[in-house]
């Protein structure tokens, strides 16, 4: 399976992972190790001054996984730029997953604010990975302003509904000159395999792995699915057709019996 690059960084795994919703840091690390993911997302929040937060940074860094802070919680471009600057300081990386969703009920990304924030962040030297709706026009605009990849959604965050946006993802993939990472809604390994089969460069998975009864096993299942999907894409899938086409030659060798 071929590797791919974002902003000059080589990734051998095409499975990116989130760190939310795991029952424990140990379960998270076991799942991530089995997934062989090379990049994980993290969030920021105001520090809880009364309680100690589980230290998940140390095991992630010991494991050599690249950290990608997100701007989750930002409702406007201004808030997202501020969150990105905080994240750059906290995690010592200029990479950021730009996400702006004003309505917590549906968590739909705001395309207008995302484009504004992306332009600003790129001027400030960030590697911007924007989480957006599966909108081919917006993805092209984000690429044109200098985003190093695009991250269109498969379906709403945490919904496990898979690639509801498939027709639009296919247009994005066909048009894009930067890597396309299908983010959000991937609920099963088969969804991830499908994303890779249709030509996505990678997927980002969180909920489906974190809430599994066996998170480590599910991490492995996603690893295998992503590998299978990519290998299938690189091998070249056959065309779909309505009518049957014989796999065996129709030589009518039994014709004499009728």
């Amino acid at each position: 399976m071929s590797s791919f690059f974002i902003a000059g960084h080589e990734f051998h795994s095409r499975l990116f992972t989130g760190t939310g919703k795991y029952a424990s840091a140990d379960a998270m690390m076991a799942s991530l190790a089995a997934s062989e993911s090379e990049l994980v997302t993290l969030s920021l929040r105001r520090m809880d001054l009364k309680h100690q937060t589980d230290n998940i940074l140390q095991p992630l860094q010991q494991h050599g996984i690249k950290l990608l802070p997100n701007t989750s919680g930002a409702r406007t471009a201004k808030e997202a730029v501020f969150a990105a600057e905080l994240a750059r300081e906290a995690l010592e990386t200029n990479w950021v997953k730009l996400e702006i969703h004003p309505d917590p009920r549906y968590l739909m990304p705001d395309g207008v604010e995302t484009l504004l924030a992306a332009e600003e962040l790129i001027k400030k030297g960030f590697v911007v990975m924007p989480y957006v709706h599966a909108d081919p026009v917006l993805c092209k605009r984000l690429e044109e302003v200098g985003c190093q990849c695009v991250m269109p959604l498969g379906s709403p965050i945490g919904s496990n509904m898979g690639l509801a946006s498939r027709p639009f993802l296919e247009i994005i993939i066909e048009q894009s000159a930067v890597p396309v990472i299908v983010d959000a809604g991937i609920g099963a390994p088969s969804d991830a395999a499908l994303a890779l089969e249709i030509g996505a460069d990678a997927v980002l998975v969180n909920t489906a792995m974190a809430v599994a009864k066996q998170p480590a096993q599910m991490g492995k299942a996603f690893r295998l699915a992503v590998e299978a999907g990519r290998i299938a894409y690189e091998s070249g899938l056959g065309e779909k057709r309505v009518q049957a086409q014989a796999t065996s030659p129709l030589t009518e060798f039994l014709g004499a019996l009728s």
Partner: protein, 65 residues
């Protein structure tokens, strides 16, 4: 003196931002600080003096998707 820390009054006996972080006894890896809506780089924590008007926000890295 009293400062505002994460939107709540906080009694602080030191002088600098670093003093404040030391007094909290928190892990400083993976955190960021903003004063009056401006991010303060780690390299300036020791030199950044706080006063009664300081609005300090401390952020920490947590799990997320």
């Amino acid at each position: 003196m009293n400062i505002m820390l994460n939107d709540a009054p906080f009694d602080f006996s030191g002088e600098t931002l670093k003093d404040l972080l030391d007094s909290l006894g928190k892990e400083t890896k993976g955190i960021a600080v903003a004063i009056d809506q401006r991010v303060v780089p780690k390299s300036l924590w020791s030199n950044t003096e706080l006063n009664e008007q300081s609005q300090v926000f401390i952020f920490e890295s947590i799990a997320g998707g």
